[in-house]
Structure formats: C-alpha cells, structure tokens
C-alpha cells in the first residue's frame, strides 16, 4: 500500500505546485484549485500531520508570495541590511522564502533550499541584522493586512533560527 500512497502524494504535490505556479501568473485567480489537494493531503501524509491554519491565515501560497515580495522591496530600502542583498538573485530568493514560509506555516510545500547556517555562511549577520529583517517582515505583513496575532505565530517559527543564522 505504501508505494501507492507515496506515488499519489507525489502526483498531488506536483499538481499542487503546477496549479499554484499558474496562480502566480494570473493574479486574479483565487485559491480553490488548491483545496482538493489540501483536504486529501493530511490523510495521505506519511509525516506527522500538522495544521495549516497559519498557512491559510497568511493567505495561502499566494498571500505568502505577496508578503515575501513586499518584504524584499522593504529590505532593499533598509540601509541596515540592504548591502547583503545587492548581489542576490531576488526572484530566486522570493521563491525560496515563499517555499520556506509555506512549509513552516503548515502549507503543502517542502523547503528545498540550503539549511539556514549554510545559506548565510558567506555573510556577517549580527543579532541586529537578523532583527532588522524580522522587523521588515512585520512591516510587509502589516501592508498585506495580516493580523498581529498571525504575524506573531509566523515570527514564533522563525525566531529560533537566530541561533543558526546569526554568526557574528
């Protein structure tokens, strides 16, 4: 039974990503194509099923992408940390951040980037830098109308990463 479940789950995941990829291109398209995958996924999930309440509160993948796009605009204007982003591939970064927030918030994504320590090893990141990004994320979420309670839940998932990201 297990290989069948894995295959079906992989197929659903591929379908979800394809659909959501299409959703980005058409900004007027709403979320419904995602729902069948979401409701079926927990029962198929081989991992411990976790709630996607936060993921939905952030606006699903579409909403998260908007938050991330806003975040990267704010970051590029933030003189405390924008130097570190001068050589960054912003589009790729937006994709990875969206994936990561989607994954962390219980959404149907699996973060595919490098681990936090490795990803930041080339930069000198202090606590002040880390917090500056967190503040920019809060501002981005404010702009996207994310309620404070929800913002705090996302920050709660990101805060422990300070231990591996801050290297200065």
């Amino acid at each position: 039974m297990q290989p069948f479940h894995s295959l079906t789950r992989a197929a659903l995941a591929a379908l979800t990503i394809t659909i959501s990829g299409g959703a980005f291109a058409q900004t007027t398209q709403s979320a419904p194509p995602m729902q069948p995958a979401q409701s079926m996924q927990p029962s198929m999930d081989q991992r411990t099923p976790h709630s996607d309440v936060l993921y939905q509160a952030l606006g699903n993948k579409e909403g998260i992408r908007k938050i991330v796009d806003e975040l990267l605009l704010i970051v590029q204007d933030d003189t405390r940390i924008n130097e570190s982003f001068l050589d960054a591939d912003i589009e790729r970064l937006a994709e990875l951040l969206t994936e990561q927030f989607c994954d962390l918030s219980g959404g149907p994504c699996k973060y595919s980037g490098r681990d936090m320590q490795e990803a930041h090893a080339d930069f000198k990141i202090s606590v002040a830098h880390f917090n500056a990004l967190a503040e920019d994320l809060q501002k981005a979420m404010d702009k996207q109308g994310v309620p404070s309670r929800t913002q705090n839940k996302l920050i709660a998932k990101l805060a422990p990463m300070q231990r591996t990201i801050v290297n200065k």
């Binding site: 606590v127 002040a128 500056a132 404070s148 705090n152 839940k153 709660a156 998932k157 805060a159 422990p160």
Partner: protein
Amino acid sequence: MVFKQLPATALAAALCVATGGAHAESISAPDMGKLLATGGVSQVEGAGGGGLTPWALISGYGTRDSYGANAHITHVSTQDHSLDSIGVAVGIADRYEASLATQTFRGTGGALDGLRIKQDILGLKLRVAGDAVVDQDSWMPQIAIGLMAKRNKGVRGLGGVTSVKQLGARHESGIDYYVSATKILLDQSLLLNATLRATKANQMGLLGFGGDLGDRYEPMLEASAAYLVNRHLAVGVEYRMKPRNLGVDREKDYYDAFIAWFPNKNVSVTAAYVALGDITVLNPRRQKGFYLSLQAGF
C-alpha cells in the same frame, strides 16, 4: 577636560569587556537592534520590567554586541498619596543592567497629609540564561538575577518623626535580591513573568526595612501577564506580594492593570490603574489610583 574623558574611557573599556571585545564601531554607536518592546518598561524602582515588578528582560535596545540606556519619569496618584519616581537605566550587551532611581512618596490627604519620604535605589541585574525572543521552540524562560540596594533618606512632614526607625523600622537601608523568569509566547501573543524577591523592605523601603514584627528576609512572589496586542501595544496585569514587618502598617499586596504603548524605540508610555492597599494604620482607606510613566532612550 581629562577628567571628563575618564568616565567615557572607562565606559568604553567596560563595554569592550562586556561585549567580548566586539568591533570598535559597535561600541561607539548604540545598535538599537533589539525588537520593539523587548526591553520592557521602567518599573517603579527603576529596573527594566513591568510597572510594579522587575523582569528578566534587560532594559534598552542594545543587542549583545552593543548597549542601550534610558531615563524614566513615573507618577502614581491615589486618594491620599502620590509616588514619583525618576531614574536612568543602562543595558550592556543585552546581559547587564544597571539602574538608578529616586522615589518621592507623599501624603496628599488624610492623616498623613504633608508627609514626604524619599528613597534612592541602585539596581543591578544579570541575565543568566535563556532568550525570551529566540526560545520560541522551548519552554525555557529568560532568567535574570538582580538586586536593589535601597536607602531611605528620611521623613518630613510628620511632626517629630524624621526617620523611618521612629515608625518601627529596624533599618534605613536594605538590599532586595530577586530572580525573574520571563517567557514570551509569540504563538499566543503573551508575555509572562514571575519574580521571586527576598526582601525586608516595607512599602518597597519607603517605610524602612524590617520592623517590630520581623526583621528577616522573606520570599515575595511577583507576577505579570501581558497580551501583545501588536508590536506597539501591550496590555496586562501585575501582582506583587508584600511583607508585613511593621505594626504600624498592615501592608497589602499591590495590583495593577496596565497598557504600555511603544510608538518607536525612543519612547514608551505606560498607564495603569493601581491598587496599593491601605498604607499605615493611620489611614484605613485602600489606596487606588493611576500610574503614568514615560521612558525615553535608545
């Protein structure tokens, strides 16, 4: 001119040691890198925390690579009394906190109308474990130990009474020792604090230390709970247990309900409704009223 430079040099040297020899540029300018509100406000004895009780958070916005400082002015007004507190605090490397505050307690009505008592408080706090902001994935609180060295500066406006010893207090000065544990639960938008304080202080030391009913250190529990409405606003309640060393004061526990507003990292305003209980047997009225505090710094 050399004399004026000495304190600056000494401070720079102290900061260098405290921050583990961090880069020179991080000492010359404060980094204001802590998240908004994570330095707490100035409690009524001058330490960083809530309104009535010290917390494990280190005052100021300097991260572990830097420092911060602030000044506060607080006014408490009940039916027959007022309390003013004014002071400064410095936080170094988000680990060490020092504060200096002067309290002025007045009788504004009732039997103690005209009373004036002053007290100076030197506070020292050391963060020993945990990080209230980072440790969202564990139950570990941020823990700090601290002391408040207090000196009562005498009594005025009460006839022939010029010293709190004449009211039954055993000493005119004393040291409170405390340990605080602060937990920020971002998932619930909550901040919780518990402080355990060993003290002999009567009405925080305003009526001296120790008394005719006892002159031993006793553990007092203090607790705060705050809901983080958004990054600029917190609302909460506090409780502070009090000793009863004086026959002349059936000292009561303090309670408050507060709102703390943080428009930016330079200013905070805290308003509270306080219940301080009856103060001395000369006035049976349970003192209730308002608390307003302004903190400015970086």
